[in-house]
Amino acid sequence: MSGHLSEEAVKQHVRIYRRVFLALGALTVLTVAVSYFHFSVAVAVAVALFIAVTKGSLVAAYFMHLKTERKIVWGILAMTFFFFVFLLTAPSLHHR
Amino acid sequence: MDKNYYGWGLPVDISAHGSQIDQLIIILHLAMAALFIGWSVFLVYTLIRFRARSGHEAVHETRHFKAPTFVEVLVALFEFFLLAAFATPIWLSVRQEFPPDDKALHVRVVAQQFAWNIHYPGEDGIFGRTDPRWMGSANPLGLDGSDPAAKDDITTVNQLHVPVDTPVIVRLSSKDVIHSFTIPVMRVKQDAIPGESIPLWFEAKKTGEFEIACAQLCGIGHYRMRGFFTVDSKEKFGEWLKAEAPQ
């Protein structure tokens, strides 16, 4: 995303930001609402994470412009995510 | 302590699974020596033959060797062969294939800053309940006096006696920090991690008195956590157990 945006492009961006903001707000309320239903742990975790991932990707895609970001940034993030998975799961699988 | 147990190479091996580990170590080191000497000879030859001297020009073109890829593949295959044929079977047998409970002697070893507490179940074969609250210098294992099963339990400090040719299942834990229970002559080493009771097993093939050491830094007394590992004949072990039993 280069620094210079035409007038028209920014107006389009602002419209997107407003819509993303509403979506994020709604999803937040949704995830809180879901927590009041006493689902089993597995379901609760799955739903909560699904909503969180959705909100996260909205922020990343639109606010952080990842949607239009170049390959090199995606490459670094993909590699980081691969090692992130190992880091996240290995200690808990210690006794397997 | 007889001197010829230990020298500059591998210590004497009196363990059932010890010979397999020694075999693996020896094979590995022979292969390593062969590789190292082979490469070193080649290196020295190359250094001498291609040293800078008048009338000798370096050659720009590099591709004149096909051998190395073959050598590398060979080394890789050899490593995986060792892993699959030797290392994994030994590791699985030591860590997973435990002897049947009824045929084995059960012992609890509880490490603490700077001693090994050994706990035998006694006649009833049941370990008395222990609790950190009762642990003190008089009762290092924290045996619960009110528990009937604890009445006949036998506890010693730094003295582990086992009968020869009998599988022994040890439940290893620690009261304070991480220690590591090791008997060099038995090729046994297992971290004692507080908060966990870790099972390990071994079987001694020769009688004698050997030493237990702590292999994981556990404080300033780490170096003086020496225990005695005595392998008795079945009779002598029975006698020792009786002698140690509480009157």
Partner: protein
Amino acid sequence: MSGHADPGLPFWRKYIFSTDHKVIGVQYAVTGLLFLLFGFGLATLIRWQLAYPGQPLPLIGGWFAESQMLGGIMLPEFYYQLGAMHGTIMVFLGVVPLAVGGFGNFVLPLQIGAPDMAFPKLNLMSYWLYFIGGVIMFASFFVPGGAAQSGWTSYPPLSVIASDGQTWWLIGMAFLINSSLLGSVNFIVTIVQLRADGLSFGRLPFFVWAQFVTAFLLLLAFPPLEAAAVLQLMDRLAHTSFFMPSGLVINDAVVNISGGGNAVLWQHLFWFLAHPEVYVLVLPAMGIVAEVIACNTRKPLYSYKGLVLSAVFIGFMSFIVWAHHMFLTNMGTVMSTFFQVTTMIISIPSVVILTVLVLSLWGGAIRFNTPMLFAIAFLPMFGMGGLTGLPLGLAASDIHLHDTYYVIGHFHYVVAPGTIFALFAGIYHWFPKVTGRRMSETLGKIHFVPSFILMNCIFFPMLMQGLAGVLRRMYDPLQYAHAQAAQPLNVFASAAAWLLALAQIPFILNFFGSLFWGRKTGENPWEATTLEWAAPSPPPHGNFLEAPHVYRGPYEYSPPQAKSGFWPQHVKDPR
């Protein structure tokens, strides 16, 4: 010459708080060398206690405080401080700052034809964070209870209940980690963005590739250790129980904490960094050795692509092998088998790199100057280090060898006659570029020969002790019969260690002497082809008079076209 910092700066902005990558590189290198010397000094004290346990230290025994040496006899607390700080200082304050901070900062921008690093101010901050970390580590010796004494690995619960020195160690580590982290961001962006025109990734000198992979290792592996340090600080200061399981009884008293923690969690987070860290130690060394070998055999490397692919593959694999340090922590068999397989896999690219470097000598016209001697010596020594890793990588043989002197011998072979020899090669090789003067060849050889012999006299006996089961971190080896049997090896290794200390004097004299009396040299004393030799020696601020353009790969030595025997990257037409 316009530039972001004009040379008319006051002294302290130009040499102390400079943002010029070359000044920062020299600062890193000199500080790193001083810490290496200090760390080596600690090792010589350890060797005294191992060779003559309980006997008063001659000559300097009286210099130490009562809490360290009582009547010249070393106390266990001080021995374990020496052990923990020797490891910490050599790894985090000595080798990495010299290899990455010193060589990386100075040589890298020059080799890619850039005027400076991408973020000069960030570079300045990196050095001073490192400096503060170093001061904290050094000062921790004088804290009541002494410095950290739970090993350079600081395993809890021991590290959580240790004296105040451990808190200083954690805070010092936080500074060092942030320094390396910011440094790695700087390196990655510099390599990706500031390469000269025509310098594609396929034409990068291997040294730059090694630093590139190293930067990613630092970037992604250090933060988990920082998180672990935060957790351990919380355990120590806020009495939380991240690493403290329930029911702990210390000195016959139940520990008054919530419990429920897991001691092995620290080992996972620590080794998640520490294994990539050991590749951070060796990759820049491989980069230096490749440069020096190519330049002094006067021919291209055997397989540039093989080297680069192996380095990248090592970088990738180094993130998923860490638990081979933890086979004996009651790890499940699936996990331990997985980590044995990944450890076997990662040994392959190391063999490939070593093979390529050895085969690069074939067909060359080898010049045996001092940098080349050190670079050649790196090959068999790193070979020994790599080979002795195999029995430790297989869990079955690891049962006997874990936590013994075999492990100490293994990693010292890789780091001491391996990485540090390569760093010596780098110092002798690039000293003319940094100062415009050459180091003396005779002093260089007087430094090389004894160092090479003595290094082996120290570390080979350790491998033998390891096979005999002699355990590491033992204040008094005479306590155990199996260690007594191998005690002569300790005496021999200790003597070699003290002689090695003497053998460094020629280097120190050479290093400081040559600053004033070394033979003056031009831009390219070694007739090398990479870009740093296209800049004046020492390069001015902004490095190149006019931005270099690159026309070919990095190692075009003895090409048919060039009569002069080498074809620099930036020269369009050699005739």
